[in-house]
């Protein structure tokens, strides 16, 4: 496997006495869409600011493109495009002029502005003043600015935050296109799980400054094994007793139904037979794949206990 694009080693970060990041070890593989997931206040934005040297890491804690961040900052930032939290846009300038400000700092040819405007689909509105832009357009303009240098790595902090559904879909398509067609590695933070689920190839879950999981998206789903069976029956407590005697753990029990994690579908038939043999009336048997949301809640809840 080739060298990871971003690597952190035992990254700690403090705000006064508050430990915002605790031993963060990230490995972002080349060509991935890396979903960086966590509830609000978990340390996502802090991590991103450290990766961009807005907050200084200590020597040896952060390597990007295999190089020490602090010592090679200018070179590294020349290959990284970033979009951090709320958009950074000069409202009194047009979209094109905003890009021109950045272009002057990074020194790329003028034609590049038209190229990035085309990528983010802002060509028609490029000469409107940015103060008339919708939030979605602001985010796309921010992304255009990040793309000016044709970076190998894009770091996007909550890029869909505050967008309406069509804006979210548009942003998602854009990210996938940048990854697939332009070959960019994308580091993407979000607290919206379904969003990451649709995009990411790799994920890390952070909570209270600690990394709780890191690896392939499928790995996360498998580790926390697949299926959950929901049983509706007339005698819930009796059914729960029966299932416990069959060595199942009941994950949820309410007045109408029982939730039981199972490994394969064959077990549904066995459970059904056992229930019917005990003269219980089975109204409904439903299996559902555990989604990222419940996995996420499970993982972050574990920490509290």
């Amino acid at each position: 496997m080739s060298e990871p694009i971003i690597q952190t080693h035992g990254l700690d970060f403090y705000f006064k006495d508050f430990k915002a990041l605790d031993q963060i070890n990230l490995e972002v593989p080349k060509g991935s869409i890396y979903g960086f997931l966590g509830p609000n206040g978990a340390g996502k934005t802090t991590t991103i600011r450290v990766l961009l040297d807005l907050f200084h890491p200590k020597d040896g804690q952060v390597q990007i493109f295999g190089k020490e961040l602090r010592a090679n900052k200018v070179e590294i930032l020349g290959r990284v495009g970033a979009l951090i939290e709320n958009p950074s846009i000069y409202k009194h300038l047009s979209g094109r002029q905003n890009l021109e400000v950045i272009r002057k700092m990074v020194d790329v040819p003028k034609e590049r502005i038209d190229e990035v405007l085309k990528i983010v689909r802002l060509v028609d509105n490029a000469d409107k003043k940015a103060k008339n832009y919708s939030l979605g357009m602001c985010q796309r303009l921010g992304l255009a600015g990040a793309l000016l240098t044709d970076p190998d790595l894009l770091i996007l902090d909550e890029p869909t935050n505050g967008l309406d559904p069509s804006g979210i879909i548009e942003m998602r398509e854009l990210i996938i296109e940048l990854n697939k067609e332009h070959g960019k590695t994308i580091f993407l933070s979000s607290h919206i799980l379904s969003e990451i689920e649709k995009l990411a190839t790799d994920v890390a879950i952070i909570d209270q400054g600690k990394i709780l999981y890191q690896g392939k998206l499928e790995g996360l789903q498998q580790d926390n094994s697949g299926l959950e069976l929901i049983i509706e029956t007339n005698e819930v407590s009796q059914a729960a007793e029966l299932l416990k005697s069959m060595n199942y753990t009941v994950s949820e029990q309410n007045g109408r139904s029982i939730h039981v994690p199972i490994v394969e579908k064959l077990e549904v038939a066995q459970i059904n037979k056992a229930l019917v043999d005990k003269n219980l009336e089975v109204y409904q048997l439903k299996t559902s794949e555990q989604n990222l949301e419940s996995i996420f809640l499970n993982i972050t809840k574990k920490l509290d206990q």
């Binding site: 600011r49 961009l52 040297d53 807005l54 907050f55 200084h56 900052k73 200018v74 070179e75 930032l77 020349g78 990284v80 970033a82 951090i84 709320n86 958009p87 950074s88 846009i89 000069y90 409202k91 009194h92 300038l93 002029q97 021109e100 400000v101 950045i102 002057k104 700092m105 990074v106 020194d107 600015g145 240098t149």
Partner: protein
Amino acid sequence: MNAAIALKRGISAELYKFRRTFILWFLILGPAFIPIINLIIFLTRGEQVMANGGNPWQMLLQFSIDPGNFLFPFFVMIVALFVNSIEHNSNTWKLIYTQPLSRGVVYFSKVKVFTFMIFMSLMLFGIFSVLAGQVVGLLKPDLGFDQTFDKSLFFALPFKVFLMTMGYASLQFWMSQRWKNLILPLGIGIGGFISFMILSQGWKYAPYHPYGYQILGLGNLRDPEFQVWGNLEFVYRSLGLAVVVFVLGGVEKLRKRII
């Protein structure tokens, strides 16, 4: 990358972003304010002003420099606010500090543009003042504006004011960069200036007060002994303070966490 090229990029981006902003008009119209008033005074009451005779250019110079020197600190405070609030308001500190330029270059570009703006408006002030004299000379030939006069004084004195301004300008710049709040730097600046006005009545350390260098250093134009390049200690104090504050501000910016 060559530091000079990097700085050039930083400065050109810095200048570009002030397009279509109020500050550009402010930088042009601000220096025109006193010359326009002088133009009106000389056109309407020129005879009374020149009742005692003498060279009208000398009178115009006094009418320009003294009030100009008094109002200029407020102008500087507002420019310092503008060049920094453009980033505070647009959330763009994090944008400019994640571009592939070192922090020192980005910081110093802004310092350069700020000092350049102040310098240019003082030179414009000189140009507008001379123009006002020329216009009066055309419209009221009997006031005597055809007499010879060393008009370089209209630029030398503002240049000296520029040098003596750098001290408190650096303080205003530092405060405006540090705080998003607009009132705080303005309040401290006005407080600093007024406190100098009061303290200059008799406090023995008043000559060290950074908001007073340009007042004490300029000297009295009516004094027959007047020398443009006299009282240079105020120029040195101002420039010394400016170097210290700009450098410390830069060091702070290098280490600071950028939100």
